[in-house]
Amino acid sequence: MANPLKCDLCTKPATVHLTQIVNNKVHKVDLCEECAQAKGVTDPSGFSLADLLLKASLNPEPAAAGVRCEQCGFTQTDFKKQGRFGCPACYDTFSAIIEPMLDTMHKGTAHTGKVPQKALARKSLYDRLTKLETDLTEAIKSERYEDAARTRDEINQVKHTFGQKPPR
């Protein structure tokens, strides 16, 4: 073999080759002996290939390496180090990295479970309120007083819908 396989986690030659079938999907990893030991591959009861695959697929690609989450300042290098994200917005920032990983990690790539209806309804009302308030400021600035009056009525209506629970 001219090009021996390299360990997915470090750069040493891989000697442990593991294939696991989960939900009819084949997952393969190549590891060096030390990483295999450290990750507990030899102990079937404590070993989850998904966690391992997660870390293995984090080798930064030069193109995406400079991306930084605007919300929390998290970078791809941080993700590689920790295997966890910095904040919910990171899922948007790093969508190019995370999306290909989901297929091997999970049963599917789209959420089909519970939806927080109340929280979402609250958020859409809040977004609407924010937009209306911007509209109002602009209408006043450009002296469109009829628009401003209508927007103000709408704002009151939305605020009324919030009732006792204003958004944080």
């Binding site: 009861s45 904040c87 919910p88 990690m105 959420h111 109340k118 979402l120």
Partner: protein, 363 residues
Amino acid sequence: MTISSLIDTPSELTDAASSKTAIVLMTRVRLARNLTGNSFPGWAKPAQREEVLAICREAVAASAPMKRSLSINIDELTDLEKQILVERHLISRELSGAKSGAGVVISRDQAFSVMINEEDHLRIQVLRSGFQLKKTWTAINELDSALEDRLDYAFSPTLGYLTACPTNLGTGMRASAMMHLPALVIASQMEKVVRAVNQLGMVVRGLFGEGSDASGSIFQISNQTTLGESEEGIIKRLGSVLNSIIEHELNARQKLLEADANKIFDKIGRAFGILQNGHVLSSSEAMNLLSLIRLGVDLGVFPDANRCVIDRLLIEAQPGHLQHAQRGEFEPGQRDLLRAMRLRGEFANFTKPNFTLSSDGPN
């Protein structure tokens, strides 16, 4: 509620002992939730963590299932108190190691617990003794919906609930059962079971989760994946995997009895002898002996009513509980003496084994 009154109250795990709990000791469901617009706990600055902790503690403590609960910051707990909560599965080892800006809210009956600023902002958990996946899911779903009234969860229509680690994405749900599988262990079939269960997308772990050993032949079986399947779908699939493991365990017991009943009765009888008379017992030896007595109860060697005694001792023989009962600090070596003394006391008046009845057929 205070931490000391909570510790002195028996937990959900030790309370029920119907025959339904014979193989599945406990069912647990947890949900990972985060607040939108806030850094995850592992990345948040100390001030942000404190802020999230305050918001969450208030919201959780105000929800209906958490009326008059214990709500406390982790740094207010002593090491011993933390260890007792870990042994009762009410907080994780990771949370017990948190320095500051982390907390937990635990219901009076110790069935609900919400960890704050563990890996995610919220780790909501419901425990039920026995095999009660659907009831546990219903209970946690209600608590989660109640919290949603007060907290703005981070959620994406395509990716579901957003979690610090992508392996929890989607439902953020981990449903698990703690199973007592002594016959599969004795028959060396556990490795085969672990492989088969893995292929079905489920994971087998030791008693205290990731990386812990399976002393006492107690295993945790849970779903591995969280995205692409509804909560009900996961519960249903896990339920059928658990049922088939129960069937395998019962078959293995039957086979052990048919092949050589004396061998299995010898193990149970010796375990009883050591528990009655031993003087030095490590935590893991005690677990293994109690596990054999528990198998004895299932096989009819001991009365059914004794199962709850064993389940209580499985928790009380843990280092934290032992130390608390003896009111003092002890070296591990002294603990082994105390543990043996405690168990000798418990087993002095325990019903004597009856090996004749059981040969008619185990349950």
